[in-house]
Amino acid sequence: MATAAKTLGFIPRPTAETGFVSWLTTVDHKRIGLMYGVTAFLFFLFGGLEAFVIRLQLMKPNLDVVTADTFNALFTMHATTMIFLAIMPMLAAFMNFLLPLQIGARDVAFPRLNAFSYWSYLGGGIFINTSWVLQVLNPAGRAVPDSGWFGYANLTTVNFSGGMGPDFWTIGLLLLGIGTLVSGFNFITTILNMRAPGMSLMRMPIFSWTTMVTSVLVIFSFPAITVALLMLLFDRQFEANFFNVAAGGNVVFWQHLFWTFGHPEVYILILPAMGIVSEILPTYSRKPLFGYSVMVFSTALIGFMGFTVWSHHMFAVGMGPVVNTIFGLTTMAIAIPTGVKIFNWLSTMWGGRVKFTSAMLFALGFIMCFTIGGLSGFMHALPPANTQQTDTYFIVAHIHYVLIGGSIFAIFGGIYHWFPKFFGRMLDEKLGKWNFWLMFAGFNMFAFPFHFLGLMGMPRRIYTYDTGFGWDFWNMFSTIGVWVLTAGILLFIWNFVQAMRKPAGTLSDPWDARTIEWTTASPPLPYNFKEVPVIAARDDFWYKKYPDAGHGGKAAKKQDQPHAAGAVHGGGHGIHMPGQSYMPALLALGITLLGYGLLFSNMITTIIGVTGIFAGMFGWAFEGDGGTVIEVAGGDD
C-alpha cells in the first residue's frame, strides 16, 4: 500500500489502520455504519430499560415503583430515545454500510461529512442523557425531559417546566438534527452521482431506493422541527413569545410545526424498514421482488403524501370539520400505496421456494404486525373515531405495532440477513429462530392488549390507575409480555457474542442472494470492489450467477452512464481512498460543547465549543486531500 498523502493543511491527516485513532478518524462508510449500529443498539437497550420500568409501574393498580414525576420523565425519554437514538440510527447503520455496496460505489459522496454525522449523533445522544446524571445527583431538579416526546406547548414553558428538562430536550434534538440532515444530503448525492456503470435508478436494489426517499423526507421535514425547537429555545432562554399565550401566542402553532416534521418522521422510521424486508423476501423466496417498479413508485408516493397528512395528529384540538375531513381523506389515501406494498410482498413469496430462515421469519413477522398497525392507523384516520381513540392506549398500541412490529422486526431481520457481510461470521440460526419466536410472542403479548385497554378507556401517560376499571388483567398480561420480549432480546445478545467469538471467514454469498453487495468479501475490503462492477440487470448478481434465469442476463442496451471507461478498472492506477481525519469528531465535539454551554449559560464552555467549531471547520477546509492509493494485486480475478 503506497501512501499518497500530500498534506496541504495545518495538521497532517492520520493514517492509523487499527486501534482507537483509526476508529476516531475513520471515514470508511462500513466502519461508520458499524459504529452507528453498535451505539444505536446500546441506546435501544437503554430505552428498553426505561420501558421495562414503565411496565413494572403499570403492572398492577396503585403501584408506586416510581413517582409520577419520574414516570413522566421515563415515557418522554423512552420515546425520544427509541425514535431519535435507536431506530433512526439503526436504520442509518444499514444505510451507511449497505448503500455504497448496493450501488457499486467505493464510499459515500462525502466521507468526512458521514463521519461527522455519526459523531454529532453520539454527542447529541450523550447530551440528552446527561439529564439522567443530573437527575440522580439532584432528584428535585427535574433535569430529565418530561413533557412527552412531542413536547407540546405550553407544557414546555418555564411556568410549567421550570427545570432543565425541556432545555435538554430542545438542544439535544437540535444537535441530533444536524447529523441527520447532513446524512440526508450525503445519501441523496451518493445515489444520484455515484452509481456504478449500468446501475440505472430503476436497477437499484430497493433498499437503496427507500434510503433515497427517506433522505428526501429528512431534508424537507427536519427544518420544520429545527424551527420549532429554536422558537422554544428562544421562548425559554430569551423570553420570546412564540408560545406565550398571555402575549397572544398560539399553542396549536407548535403542534402544526411539530407534526409537519413528525408525520414525515414516521415514514423516515418505516420506509427503510420496508426496504430491508423487500430485500429479505426475494432472497429467501428465490424469486424477484414482485412489482419492483410499483414498489419504487409506492415508496415515492408514500414519501410525498407523508407531507400532506400531519394534522391527523390534531383532530381533537378543534380545527373544524372541513380541515378534519381533508386530513382524514389524505390519511386514508396513503393507505393505498402502503397496501400495494403489502400485497407485493405476499406476491413475492407466492410460488417461491421459501426458506424459513431467521431473517425470513422476522420479515414475515414484520408483514403481520405492520399490517395490524396499519389497520389501527387507518381507524385513526376517521375524525369521529379518532376523537374516541386519541390519548388512549389504542394509540399506544398503534405506535408500538408500527415501530416494534414494523421497524424493529425489520431491523432484526436485516441483522440476521446481512450479519455475514457486516462481520464475516454467521449468527446461529437455531438461536435466531428462538430469538424470533420469543420476540414475536412477547411483543404481541405486550402490545396487543393495549388495543383493549385503549377501547376500555385507559388514557396514555397515566402513571397509575385504580382497580375496578377492568384494566388489571390486561396490564399484568402486557407486563409479562415485556419479560418474554426481553428474553428474546437477551438471547439475541447471546447469539451475537457467540458469533463474534468465532473467527471470521464466512463465504461472500452464504444466502445465495441477489444484489451486488454479496459479490464483495465478507466483510468487504476497505475499497469494497476490486473493480467497479458493470451492471446489466436488476438483481444483477443473481443473473450473473444464473444466466438462464428469466429475463436477466441481457446486457445493458446502452451505456448511459458517463463514467470514463478507463476509470472502471481499479488496477493499474490503483484505488484512491479518502484520507482519515480528526476534523469530523472535533467539529461534532465543538457543537456538543456549545450545546452544554448554552444549557448551563456557561461562558467558558460556550467559548471552548465555538473555538472547537471554528478549528474543526477550518481544519476541515484546509487539511488538504490526504488519502492513500491502494494497489490491488490480481485485479483480473
Partner: protein, 202 residues
C-alpha cells in the same frame, strides 16, 4: 484518476448526473434551508398584527432606508457572479477583488441591520415586547446570521487565495460560496417584500 472518493477538492469527479458532488450536495442543503426560512416566515405571518402595547410595524419601518441596504445586498449578488466568472476565466486577482467587494457589501448590509435593530429597540420593540417583536427579530435575525456566516465564508476564501488569488483551481470553491450568497440574497428579497413592502402597501 480517482474514482468515487469524492470528498473531493481539486479533481473534477466523474458523476452520473455530470454535476459535481459538492455542488449537488449544496443544492440539497439549500433546498432544506428553504423550508427553514419558510417555517420562520409562517411564524411571522400567523402572528401578524399581534403588536401588544408595543410599536407597530407601520410606525417603525423606514422603507427608503431598508431599500438602500436591500440594494447593496442585491449588488453583492452581481459582484459574486463576477467573482465566480473571473475565477473560472483564470483572472485570479480580479476574482479575489470581487469576492472582497462582496464581503464588504455583506458587512454594509449587516451594519444597516445592526442600526435598524438598535433603533427599533430604542423605540420599544424587543424580543419580549410583543409577538411582532419576537417574530420580527427571530426571522430577520436568522437571515442576518446567514449573511454573517456568508461574510466569514468569503473572508475564508480570501485567505484561501492569499497567494496568487482565486484562479481556476479554486473556481469550484468560489462557485459554491456564490450559491450560498445568492440563496441568502433571494431569501432577503422575499423577506423585504413580505415583511416590509406589503406592510407599507396595507
Amino acid at each position: 484518476m480517482s474514482l468515487e472518493t469524492a470528498h473531493g477538492h481539486e479533481h473534477a469527479e466523474v458523476t452520473n448526473t455530470g454535476i459535481d458532488n459538492r455542488k449537488l450536495g449544496f443544492w440539497l442543503f439549500l433546498s432544506s434551508e428553504t423550508i427553514f426560512f419558510a417555517c420562520l416566515l409562517v411564524g411571522y405571518l400567523v402572528y401578524h398584527g399581534q403588536n401588544g402595547s408595543g410599536p407597530t410595524p407601520a410606525e417603525l419601518f423606514e422603507i427608503p432606508l431598508t431599500s438602500i441596504s436591500t440594494f447593496v445586498l442585491l449588488m453583492s449578488s452581481l459582484s459574486v457572479v463576477l467573482g465566480v466568472f473571473s475565477a473560472q476565466q483564470g483572472h485570479a486577482k480580479a476574482a479575489r477583488g470581487w469576492v472582497a467587494a462582496t464581503a464588504l457589501m455583506g458587512l454594509v448590509f449587516l451594519g444597516f441591520q445592526a442600526y435598524e435593530f438598535t433603533h427599533f429597540y430604542h423605540e420599544g420593540l424587543t424580543l419580549s415586547s410583543s409577538l411582532f417583536g419576537t417574530t420580527f427579530y427571530v426571522l430577520t435575525g436568522f437571515h442576518g446570521a446567514h449573511v454573517a456566516v456568508g461574510v466569514i465564508w468569503l473572508l475564508s476564501l480570501l485567505f484561501h487565495g492569499r497567494k496568487g488569488g482565486l484562479g481556476q483551481d479554486k473556481a469550484g470553491d468560489v462557485e459554491i460560496a456564490g450559491l450560498y450568497w445568492h440563496f441568502v440574497d433571494i431569501v432577503w428579497i422575499v423577506l423585504f417584500t413580505v415583511v416590509y413592502l406589503l406592510e407599507a402597501a396595507m
